[in-house]
């Protein structure tokens, strides 16, 4: 005689869930729980001033082209006007076929992208195949919608390769998930878009794409005070990702580009009065 209910087939547990039997799939402290929902609307950060939105004080960009996806980021972290670091790593290596970029709260991005990495690995082990980029980004979106209005700050891009090719998604703390070919995120994104939109073509070669990414980040770091440091560049292709540049100093880039134009680069092209 069958002494269990067949309708329990297909569920993860076919017996009463007991804590000691449950494999703790998270080897890190468990995710923070939101105890209550604020009835007052979104948690105000930075006084709700959108123009001066420090929470995304950075410049990151990514675009799809014929050789895959190129990601380029700056490396500056600032607390108000104080520069706390010029060497931050804003591309998070989720696994060998997925990368995430960081913009907004560093802690939020680092934690949730590591959580995503854990989830991807667990899926791979349980199902024998890798999680697609679409599914990984959707999983992250689901988490962020759950924490909506609680004050998380994340504007990240998920880029990776799977069986259907290379894909780029933009995910933010409002629960937005967008698939696209060109994204730039952060306070310097407006400057980067200017350069990117001007020279982007789908049929860029790898070298041209790297040059474009580097230039766009450089221009953003020159104009935006919250971006600077070094440019880090990653390339995603069908075999995973490659770190193209670990850190090109934007100061060197400034003087190199000025020299290419035949200028010195010290702001004196207009021969301003000095005294």
């Amino acid at each position: 005689m069958i002494d269990f209910d067949p309708s329990t087939f297909g569920l993860a547990h076919t017996y009463q869930k007991e804590d000691k039997d449950e494999i703790n799939t998270l080897s890190m402290p468990s995710a923070p729980q939101v105890i209550y929902r604020s009835l007052n609307g979104p948690t105000q950060t930075n006084g709700g001033n959108k123009l001066n939105n420090f929470k995304h004080g950075t410049t990151t960009l990514g675009f799809v082209f014929k050789e895959g996806i190129l990601l380029a980021v700056d490396s500056r972290a600032s607390m108000g006007s104080f520069l706390s670091s010029e060497q931050v790593r804003k591309v998070i290596e989720i696994n060998e076929y997925l990368l995430g970029t960081m913009a907004g709260g560093a802690a939020d991005c680092q934690y949730w992208l590591a959580y995503l990495a854990n989830h991807c690995r667990t899926y791979e082990l349980k199902n024998g195949s890798k999680l697609s980029v679409a599914a990984a980004s959707k999983f992250l979106q689901g988490i962020l919608i759950g924490y909506k209005n609680s004050g998380l700050s994340m504007g990240c891009m998920i880029a990776g390769t799977d069986l259907s090719g290379q894909h780029l998604y933009y995910i933010d703390n409002d629960g937005m998930r967008l698939k696209g070919d060109i994204f730039s995120v952060g306070s310097g994104s407006t400057y980067a878009y200017g350069v990117l939109d001007n020279y982007y073509r789908y049929d860029l070669s790898l070298d041209e794409a790297v040059e474009l990414g580097v230039r766009a980040i450089y221009h953003a770091t020159h104009r935006d005070t919250a971006s600077g440091g070094v440019v880090r560049v990653y390339h995603i292709h069908q075999n995973g990702w490659t770190k193209v540049h670990d850190g090109i100093d934007v100061v060197d880039l400034h003087y190199k580009f000025a020299q290419q134009k035949g200028l010195v680069g010290d702001g004196d092209e207009a021969k301003q009065r000095l005294f």
């Binding site: 001066n52 006007s81 919250a226 600077g228 000095l274 005294f275």
Partner: protein, 204 residues
């Protein structure tokens, strides 16, 4: 980055040496997080032996400089002589206090040579003069420059040494402030000449 003094950003520093003085400033003109130009003048030659450096709201930097330029020109015409640096230092203080209830949003530093003796005075925005220190800073990057000054400064330096030290202090300080930088200019005033040097700094 709220606050009227942080709106445009910028940093200045002044130092005394042996029978010489040096002033340095960054060159950024920005509006909050956006940089507009990288060649904005913040140190002004009031007279052959007086330099005025201003930091704070750029609009008031320009206005206050124009006011001081007018005052010194009128003084030269009326009294038919040059103004002494200590007199100019007092003039700055009273001009600032004149606007006690609607101040200029600037923090000036005055540097000069009076009979070969270096004079350095700094003020808050309503004219409290402080003229006893060997080096003074102003602006959003001021506190970071203080640290570098304390490390590098020693009394009675020659003009060449002073130029090196003040340049390094400005650059190190501005590197930690996101609102200052984008170039630097160093002015060294001795009895014989005024040397102006443009520094190659981070442009980010």
């Amino acid at each position: 980055m709220s606050g009227i003094f942080e709106y445009n950003g910028g940093s200045i520093v002044g130092m005394k040496g042996k029978n010489c003085i040096a002033m340095a400033c960054d060159r950024r003109f920005g509006q909050q997080m956006s940089t507009i130009t990288t060649n904005y003048q913040k140190v002004f030659k009031i007279q052959d032996n007086i330099l005025l450096a201003l930091s704070g709201l750029n609009s008031d930097i320009h206005t206050f400089y124009a006011l001081m330029e007018k005052e010194i020109n009128l003084y030269n015409l009326k009294e038919n002589r040059k103004m002494k640096p200590t007199t100019f230092a007092n003039l700055v203080a009273s001009s600032l206090y004149e606007r006690r209830f609607g101040p200029f949003f600037v923090t000036p530093i005055v540097a000069g040579l009076e009979n070969g003796k270096p004079i350095l005075a700094t003020y808050d925005s309503i004219g409290c003069k402080s003229d006893l220190d060997d080096f003074q800073v102003g602006g959003t990057g001021g506190n970071y420059i203080y640290g570098a000054c304390e490390a590098f400064f020693k009394p009675d330096m020659s003009p060449e040494e002073l130029e090196e030290v003040i340049g390094q202090s400005l650059v190190s300080g501005c590197d930690r402030d996101s609102l200052s930088g984008w170039g630097g200019v160093v002015y060294v005033l001795t009895e014989q000449k005024l040397t102006v040097k443009i520094l190659k700094t981070k442009q980010t």
